[in-house]
Symmetry: C2
Subunit: 639 residues, 2 copies
């Protein structure tokens, strides 16, 4: 019908043909230092992407329904490879967003479109049927194995906006919403920073403030009020946003609004005593010191109690609880996460009404349900307490039923026990003990004797403190992504493990669990050498890039390029992609300065987890955005 | 206070220092053909951009107020160089937008941010005070030389949102709004395509339609309705949008929604008999033939009479005026331009109530006012009729008062007359005559005799038909930009010309006009060799890129790259910037095929006019967007 020209063919080849899909694109940037950046196109063949069409229904296929297209859901979808599943994805967002870069989007360091990728493109499979519906889940019906959904555009669908989807397995990965802690006026007057749309709104709002302040009718006093930006919450998102805003003003807006320097004020409010308090102290100190130097007003120990359209009211948490108000131009609220309404309903249905998130076991199965899994920010793993199972553990270990445990007996079940109760290992590490045997020695008060035997009471007393080390996994991109990968792996090997169970031994029952727990997988993946998030207890998601930006803030290429090299899977340790060797070294230095061990592990993890989540399009876009900012600055058009 | 690092310094150097402002950036794209693209950074020093600060008021400076930041306003601002003016710019948009690329923004061939540039950045001056207020003009008070304005964000300004600005000279360049011709339901249900926001809304709306159609509850019949895209208006904007949408579906969406090919339908409705009827017939034929091949349904001769939320009703203009309705998913309305409400009010005030746009004389001064100028789409030049002035023209030319005009007498005033009455030249061209002398010969019926004399009656009869050639200037970017440049030139030379008038002789009065008319300037600029828009009567603005896209539609790099080479000031005739020589030649070929004379002139004009209007940032962004599309395709995330 049509004759393709050479160029059309070339363009098509770039994104169509598998044989060319790793086609090399070299962008050589001849700037101050010169070099080149390697990027590959990772498009997949289009033939397989049968997403709109009804599936050729082999009725034997098991139906997996995935709710959500964030880190957890996308990671699960990307790693699911067993063709015996038929997958339906339901989410109000038809794209995956690389959330750690959201603070950069608020000021245009990176464009919104550079950090999103259509979910259909990301999850195209050669052999697994994946279909996507842009809709919200409104309720879950576990009795009939159904989810009820509503299209996000229900206006003109003649009542066809609502529909139900059957599942054999349900994967809930809907994330969380911003938590206002019911503070009056927040919903109405503050900006959140969780979605791409939030970042775009903040960007317009910042420009609005500057345009308002430029109006000829205002006094300098009024201008100061309008140009007062308040950030609530000293977590990584809030801290990064404050830093990005400061840079936008200092590097770009000041050229177009010269008097602005004296009028702009950025205030960060944090209820606790320090910002970034989930991190190593050195990071917190560095950040606070840097904010001080930059003139960002840091108010710790003050809790926001009310937000009106013009003023924000805080209460000091110490010194008599003084209440004070300040006028503002814009507030960004970033204090923590809350539960989505339909998840709250679902939790009531399944007897979890008292939790803050869906409780699951170590295999991510929602407690009190069949074949429903939950992961990411909407879920929390309910870890088993050692003390609750102590008699059964003793019994399992005491194979000869002698009533006492020898070191040898203990060692035989040690791996299984550590897998089910990771708090033991954390406790040992904190006490600087090498193994559970040391605990037993400790309990006996006998440090020299090599062959120790303990009875059940001594065993109980030896382990009595370990449950104090139980910690929830942090609500970060990394955790969500790892959980998605883990769950996909469980699904992929479901049949195989049914036949040959390979999990830890059952403490209350016979035989083995079918598959290893999430905890064991993580430990295994890290070959017990690297820092796991359970061990540090610090979120590495936006957090690490938060730490990145802060470490970098005395270096010009900072945030963006740090992220280029770390979060975007271009590791500074592997052969650097020639973008700029010098830049890479500049980046490594301050990190080293923070302590080699900590930083390298942080970043290695970041690279491991994030590099799988993004496409080469988004990587190229972010590199492009960064170069653009470097040369032309950030754009301040109000669009 | 702070120590800048090497990299920070480098980055700053890029956009700060005048000495480096032309710093070379070479982006070498090693793709199919290899090469490199040259781009210069054209940043200006920041010291001069004192926009927020109150001006150091030298009271002697004349106050120029410019309303609008579109093609006309921006072109005026960029070319105004006389430091004796103090300029205030008022517009609800704090940026200039390169409107010919709006249809590309609707589908993501080009990103919105790539075609805008903050007005403050564009008009930074070394020696002219320019300040900007983001506000709408709500009324003009010519008696008190004031404009009354309202901030676009009037919500929280405590009544300080409204303010007045005094002027000595007022330049009205507010453009036009979309014209619905009062068709019921258009305002509520159709998309327009005039502003950047419109294009962004259309982009989201297209994705919405595809997501809606993908829902599992719908029948194929319902899907077809939702995927029926209707474009109203066969002008360049409508035609380009239809073409871009078709490409988006064919090149990108079809990969993610494979069945879509059979379900999507694009219909273009045009009231007249042909699309692009302001162009050369060959372009119209080519476009219609191409639409036919692409399966775009072209319905000419049908006028839209009603739009509801689900259906669009048309009436055939011939054959009994049959009325029919069709269901649709999305309508884009692009039929023409209307007058902004405050301009309508102003026209009533100054006795121009019957016009469709502000009438001005040939010097762009608004008729019936003092020191008010209007240009661009909100204005129209009221050309003088030769017949109205015929006695005065004769008298002026008949220097010896003999009652007859000789050829010699005629030739002495010829240039002045042609400048005031450009319709004469058009008439001569259409009659294939070389000069007005031929007209005189014609009137005498005596073609051989060289020395002709005509009396006033013969002169009147010779020129009796010339006024039929009077045409309004088309409402295009080019016209607006040229008018802006012309008016800035008038302002720059105002004092000089006051002393030494250099305009045409006054027909009804003594001496000369102070400065040449717009018409003469255009003729002069083109050294009478090139096609002026008055001569062709065809809009060259979006139109020419429309023609471009159409000519290109059988060539893969088409639209975007055509624009790269033409509208963005990278002429294919000058040394091509190495991006891809081959591409350049591919582009030239089809244009040559359309006739060398026509196309080369079109493009030369395009290059001349547009290359002045944009920044190197926008150029680089568009090149980047185009490369991105070439490699990765267009993004279909709903943001």
């Amino acid at each position: 019908m049509r004759i393709y020209t050479f160029f059309e063919k070339t363009s098509r080849a770039f994104h169509d043909h598998p044989s060319l899909s790793k086609l090399l694109l070299v962008v050589a940037v001849s700037g101050s230092a010169g070099g080149g950046l390697l990027a590959y196109s990772d498009s997949k063949p289009s033939e397989a992407a049968n997403l709109l069409a009804p599936p050729e229904t082999e009725n034997k296929k098991k139906k997996v329904v995935v709710l959500g297209t964030g880190w957890a859901g996308t990671s699960f979808l990307k790693n699911l490879k067993d063709p015996s599943f038929e997958v339906q994805v339901i989410s109000p967002r038809n794209y995956f967003a690389f959330t750690p870069l959201l603070p950069s989007v608020t000021v245009g360091t990176v464009e919104a479109r550079s950090i999103v990728e259509p979910i259909r493109k990301l999850v195209r499979k050669k052999n697994v049927d994946v279909r996507f519906w842009e809709a919200e889940c409104i309720s879950i019906d576990p009795a009939n194995k159904k989810v009820n959904c509503r299209s996000t555009q229900n206006a003109d669908l003649n009542g066809k906006a609502e529909f139900s989807v059957d599942y054999d397995y349900l994967v809930i990965a809907v994330g969380a919403r911003s938590n206002t802690f019911n503070t009056p006026g927040v919903e109405e007057n503050a900006h959140f920073l969780k979605e791409v749309e939030d970042a775009q709104k903040i960007r317009r709002s910042i420009i609005d403030c500057f345009e308002k302040a430029a109006l000829p009718t205002l006094s300098d006093e009024e201008r100061k009020k309008i140009l007062h930006f308040v950030v609530v919450g000293g977590g990584p998102t809030g801290v990064e946003f404050a830093a990005e805003l400061h840079d936008f003003v200092r590097e770009d807006l000041v050229k177009l609004h010269p008097k602005v320097k004296e009028l702009v004020k950025i205030t960060l409010l944090e209820a606790t005593d320090h910002i970034l308090n989930m991190f190593d102290k050195r990071i917190t100190e560095f950040a606070e010191e840097k904010f001080h130097r930059d003139g960002i007003d840091l108010k710790t120990g003050s809790m926001v109690v009310k937000v009106t359209d013009k003023e924000i009211t805080t209460k000091a948490l110490k010194n008599g609880g003084e209440v004070s108000s300040m006028p503002y131009g814009m507030v960004v609220w970033s204090t923590g996460i809350g539960t989505r309404p339909f998840i709250v309903d679902f939790m009531k249905q399944i007897g979890q009404a008292n939790r803050r998130a869906l409780g699951t076991d170590e295999w991510l199965r929602v407690e009190g349900t069949d074949n429903i899994y939950a992961l990411g920010d909407c879920a929390t793993i309910v870890q088993r307490k050692v003390m609750g199972d102590i008699a059964e553990i003793f019994k399992k270990a005491d194979k000869d039923n002698s009533g006492t445990l020898t070191v040898k007996e203990m060692q035989e079940v040690l791996d299984d026990i550590l897998e089910r109760y990771p708090q033991i290992e954390l406790y040992l590490k904190n006490r600087k003990m090498k193994s559970i045997v040391d605990l037993m020695k400790d309990a006996k008060g006998d440090k020299s004797k090599e062959s120790i035997e303990v009875n059940v009471e001594e065993f109980r007393s030896a382990l009595s403190q370990v449950d104090s080390q139980m910690k929830n996994l942090p609500a970060t991109a990394q955790v969500a992504a790892q959980q998605g990968t883990y769950l996909a792996d469980c699904f992929n090997r479901m049949e195989e493990c049914e036949k040959n169970p390979e999990g830890p031994i059952r403490i209350r029952g016979e035989g083995r669990h079918r598959i290893g727990t999430l905890g064991s997988l993580l430990h295994w993946e890290e070959s017990k050498q690297q820092l796991s998030y359970q061990e540090t207890g610090s979120p590495l998601g936006t957090a690490a890039s938060g730490c990145g930006i802060l470490c970098m803030r005395d270096y010009p290429i900072r945030a963006s390029s740090f992220r280029l090299h770390s979060t975007w899977g271009i590791s500074p340790w592997s052969q650097p992609p020639n973008l700029d060797l010098t830049i890479t070294f500049w980046l490594i230095k301050p990190i080293d300065w923070l302590g080699k061990k900590l930083s390298s592990k942080l970043i290695r993890r970041l690279v491991q987890n994030c590099s799988k989540q993004v496409s080469w399009r988004t990587r190229a876009c972010v590199v492009g955005d960064w170069m653009r900012r470097f040369i032309f600055g950030r754009d301040s058009s109000r669009i």
